[in-house]
């Protein structure tokens, strides 16, 4: 299992498009992926779950990956955050 903390650095937070990207990317892996914020834990493969976190700019999320392809999943998801979801506006 891999656990990692991540801070949201894109200005609008995990709004519709980034949330969709997270859920879509997560759905491409077999391992379990959970995101926790303020004691709320959700399944990262669920777009509604990700939106429900209401993760705004500056908030911190804890990501856990558990399963065979956890390494690759962790890299794919953290890359999304690191690149600020390629947002322009």
């Amino acid at each position: 299992m891999i656990t990692t903390d991540i801070q949201i650095t894109n200005r609008l937070g995990l709004h519709a498009r980034p949330a969709a990207q997270v859920a879509q990317t997560a759905a491409g892996f077999n391992c379990d992926i959970k995101i926790t914020k303020d004691k709320v834990e959700i399944n990262a493969k669920s777009i509604m779950g990700v939106l429900m976190l209401a993760a705004e700019y500056g908030s911190t999320l804890t990501l856990t990956f558990d399963g065979e392809d956890e390494q690759a999943a962790c890299k794919a998801i953290t890359d999304l955050f690191a690149n600020n979801f390629n947002e322009e506006f």
Binding site: A16, A20, M52, E56, Y57, G58
Partner: protein, 580 residues
């Protein structure tokens, strides 16, 4: 006859009978099923999901063709919601374990989800509830096979009156008999409004009580030009609108043909026509416009809804994407005009004791007190200018004296130097201009014109400050008058002073997209008009049908006028000439 005023969301005029969109979203007809039916019910549920997925695919495709990827992505989000385990698994579990009907299972699952979202504090996330319901409604509709039953039951061309419309509703309107729509909720930049524009359906939104005031079958006029819904119009109004409607239709087909043509008057005088750009509401249709450049990029939106000011790189990326769309043409970026009615979320001391914000610390005044904000924005613009062939122009809002211009010039030079050291030099020299909207700047313009490379007249605020009238105050709002003699004379004086020093003047306020006022503005000597994309072709058409000589004569006459009345009369005369 009864008239309701709302927000003009999509231009055009439609006349027809009203149909009211029923608001009862979910009528669960059958709460529980027999245990023997569970398997069949789950099959039914899955079939409905499949069917809904196909609908959304179609919708996505259509949006991609009409509005571009951004709106299509909205539908892909809906597809994800539909397939989300939180919806699908929960509903199937309710059918399996609680023997609920598929309909009831969807309904209860949606309720639970909506409740969780309602508890969120952040408005953006709270609003996602609507997306979930939008998907849920489709799904439930496919389950009982009544999808769009309402819209397809409309048998004659009608005006749809609704409390609110989802984007997915809107995209389906045209293939049914809907010729226009009105909603109680919504704003000018809502998804629904932008969709209506691209579908060319007249629409008025934000009407508050349209649904309550209208009855099924009432004859109504939707005036998407002025944001009016007219219920049961009298004969006179009806014939007036029928005439306007015919003219608009004629004009519309003509408009498409003039896009590639130059902006030139009938007697051969050339003007530049640019667009006021808002990257958040830019549609595929807008991208087809052939313009002389970007006349005004308002940058306040970058500062809104975030806890900290935008960074240099964030701004740079936004400017770069924008500038690339205009290739080698001018790109005018206005420094953020924060303050007054545009206050960011991050704290700034200057707003604390501001009883009269329109005369308070806004625009360049705020930036001079917070030089780091200005520095970041200037650096972001210079960084962008070093990578594009466009002619980048920076406009200073709210200048009132020459010292302010000098301060900004110094700050710009510093940013230029810093970036030069990082190896980033603008492809073309950056021009620095002023927005003339404070009367003191207009009157003492000769003292600062040498420090400015170009001028733009901010007519909205200039008129408000000249007449000392607060447009938001209903007691005096009617006094706000673009035809006031002082307005014409001030614009004239600004243009004369600028032209003596060989500087160009643009106008980018609301007045520039008022087809009736355009002849006077050109007659006064304006070099550039900048208008919102949706007005672009209309204004171009107006200019191409004008004679500059007539405009010039009329403009001279307005300078001698002693009342608004006289000027309005001149305006009417100019426009009648046009009609005949």
């Amino acid at each position: 006859m009864f008239v309701i005023t709302g927000i003009a969301a999509s231009p055009g005029i439609a006349i027809g009978p009203a149909v009211l969109l029923p608001t009862a979203d979910f009528a669960v007809s059958n709460q529980y099923i027999d245990v023997t039916e569970v398997k069949a019910e789950i099959v039914k549920f899955n079939q409905a999901v499949e069917k809904t997925l196909q609908d959304l695919d179609l919708c996505e495709q259509r949006l991609r063709d009409s509005l571009g990827a951004e709106y299509a992505n909205l539908m892909s989000m809906h597809k994800m919601i539909l397939q989300d385990p939180m919806l699908k698994d929960a509903a199937v579990r309710k059918i399996k374990n609680e023997h609920m009907s598929a309909q009831a299972a969807i309904f209860h699952t949606l309720q639970e989800l909506a409740n969780s979202f309602s508890q969120l504090e952040d408005n953006f996330f709270k609003e996602r509830r609507n997306d979930i319901f939008d998907v849920g409604k489709r799904l439930a509709g496919n389950l009982v096979g009544t999808k769009n039953a309402f819209l397809s039951s409309v048998k004659r061309p009608s005006v749809l009156i609704a409390h609110d419309l989802f984007p997915s509703d809107t995209i389906n309107l045209q293939e049914n008999q809907i010729i226009a729509f009105c909603t109680d909720l919504g704003g000018k930049t809502s998804h629904t409004a932008i969709l209506a524009q691209s579908l060319k359906l007249p629409a008025v939104v934000g009407l508050s009580h349209a649904l309550r005031q209208t009855k099924d079958g009432d004859w109504v006029i939707v005036d998407g030009e002025n944001g009016l819904l007219i219920i049961n119009p009298d004969k006179h109004t009806l014939s007036l609108y029928k005439k306007t409607q015919r003219e608009l239709k004629k004009a519309e087909s003509l408009l498409q043909t003039i896009n590639p043509l130059p902006t030139i008057t009938a007697d051969g005088k050339n003007f530049k026509l640019m667009v006021n750009f808002d990257p958040r509401t830019y549609t595929k249709d807008n991208k087809k416009l052939i313009t002389d450049g970007l006349g005004l990029l308002r940058t306040e939106f970058l500062y809104m809804d975030i806890p900290q000011p935008p960074t240099e790189m964030e701004q740079y990326r936004a400017y770069l994407t924008t500038a690339k769309m205009f290739d080698r043409r001018p790109v005018t970026i206005r420094l953020a005009d924060l303050g007054a009615d545009k206050k960011p979320d991050f704290p700034l001391d200057e707003f604390d004791k501001d009883n009269n914000p329109f005369m308070g610390c806004r625009g360049i005044r705020l930036f001079l007190k917070n030089p780091e904000l200005m520095h970041t924005q200037l650096r972001a613009i210079v960084r962008m200018a070093s990578e594009v062939p466009a002619q980048v122009k920076i406009m200073i809002p709210m200048i009132s004296c020459v010292e302010e211009v000098r301060h900004v010039r110094e700050a710009l030079n510093q940013a230029l130097q810093e970036l030069a050291q990082e190896g980033k030099k603008p492809v073309n020299p950056i021009a620095l201009g002023g927005m003339i909207e404070v009367p003191s700047a207009a009157i003492a313009l000769d003292g600062m014109i040498n420090e400015l490379d170009f001028l733009s007249i901010g007519t909205n605020d200039l008129i408000q400050y000249l007449i000392a009238v607060d447009r938001v105050n209903p007691e005096v709002a009617h006094m706000y008058d673009p035809c006031h003699p002082a307005v014409m004379r001030t614009i004239h004086q600004i243009i004369q002073t600028a032209h003596q020093r060989g500087k160009e003047v643009s106008i980018c306020g609301e007045i520039a997209s008022d087809a009736k006022m355009v002849p006077l503005l050109l007659g006064l000597g304006t070099d550039i008009l900048s208008v919102p994309p949706r007005m672009y072709l209309r204004i171009k058409n107006r200019i191409r049908n004008l004679k500059f000589e007539t405009c010039s004569d009329a403009a001279q006459a307005t300078l001698l006028a002693s009342s608004s009345e006289e000027i309005r009369h001149l305006v009417e005369e100019l426009n009648q000439d046009e009609d005949s």
